[in-house]
Symmetry: C2
């Protein structure tokens, strides 16, 4: 999607374009933000998927692994190893539902919540440094626009999606 166009307001040949393609700016920015998260997650012993799970589980238990997978746009088979690890480290609980023993009830442990909060705080601290480079007026519009566009239904249409991995 023509990432490089991001650096140019005009093409290398001088043909004037009103602006680079939106995706050509947004996608590389997203990659950069993920790359910036990586060392923080490493320091907390979390993969991107694990962090995603911790963020989503939050204080509210989730009734099935399939529901969790759907919610975070992952394949249900893809999160199993992640849950195995998080459970082994006692960051989440995975208890069989007494009412339907096929189901595993998922919830955060205190330690899981603590780790998630610590990781998120560190991540957002780094993001603040980036946002501080923006004029205050632009920054507000940027965040509001991100929120708006992220929530647009025509952009949120469900597809499996590659998920958080960023090899």
């Amino acid at each position: 999607m023509a990432e490089n166009a991001a650096d140019r307001g005009t093409t290398s040949g001088g043909r004037p374009t009103a602006r680079p393609d939106l995706a050509a700016m947004v996608v590389p920015l997203g990659r950069a933000l993920m790359a910036a998260e990586q060392p923080v997650l490493d320091a907390h012993g979390l993969t991107m998927w694990a962090y995603t799970v911790l963020l989503y589980l939050d204080e509210t238990p989730v009734r099935t692994q399939a529901a969790l997978a759907e919610a975070i746009r992952a394949d249900k088979t893809r999160i199993i190893a992640v849950l195995d690890d998080l459970e082994a480290r006692e960051l989440i609980r995975r208890q069989p539902d007494p009412e339907d023993r096929r189901v595993r009830l998922l919830s955060l442990t205190t330690e899981g919540r603590r780790l998630r909060d610590a990781a998120q705080a560190a991540i957002q601290e780094g993001e603040e440094r980036l946002l501080s480079r923006l004029p205050a007026a632009d920054r507000a519009g940027f965040l509001r626009s991100l929120h708006t566009l992220s929530g647009l239904p025509e952009l949120t249409a469900r597809k499996p999606g590659r998920g958080p991995s960023r090899t």
Copy 2:
């Protein structure tokens, strides 16, 4: 990287967060924008990589394939099939450099330029529809911020990168 946090200003458990992680909004937005480009590119018979190449080649010839690959953050082996196809369709020229016959000089053909312009016009038309959903004031700040952040050196640090594919 916790895409879902994008839909929430607060977590499901009620813990108030100032905002979702930046990456949790930007990355899904980037995926959505790429997905929106896809049908347009299909209609023009272009893959995302091919479009990226056409955008970069522009009117200015590039001296080596390796330089092109580096510029668009692709592996040099990855673009060969793309160049093969574009050349076969006479959208680009790939001529051995008389001064160093190891080198292939790359340039756009007239038809290649025409196709690129048509595709980009259609893509940006679709993007305008999205941007029109934003308040005029926010929109300006959004685009300016995107430009600024995309150009930030600490975010542009070169890494191979997965490139434009979005399976």
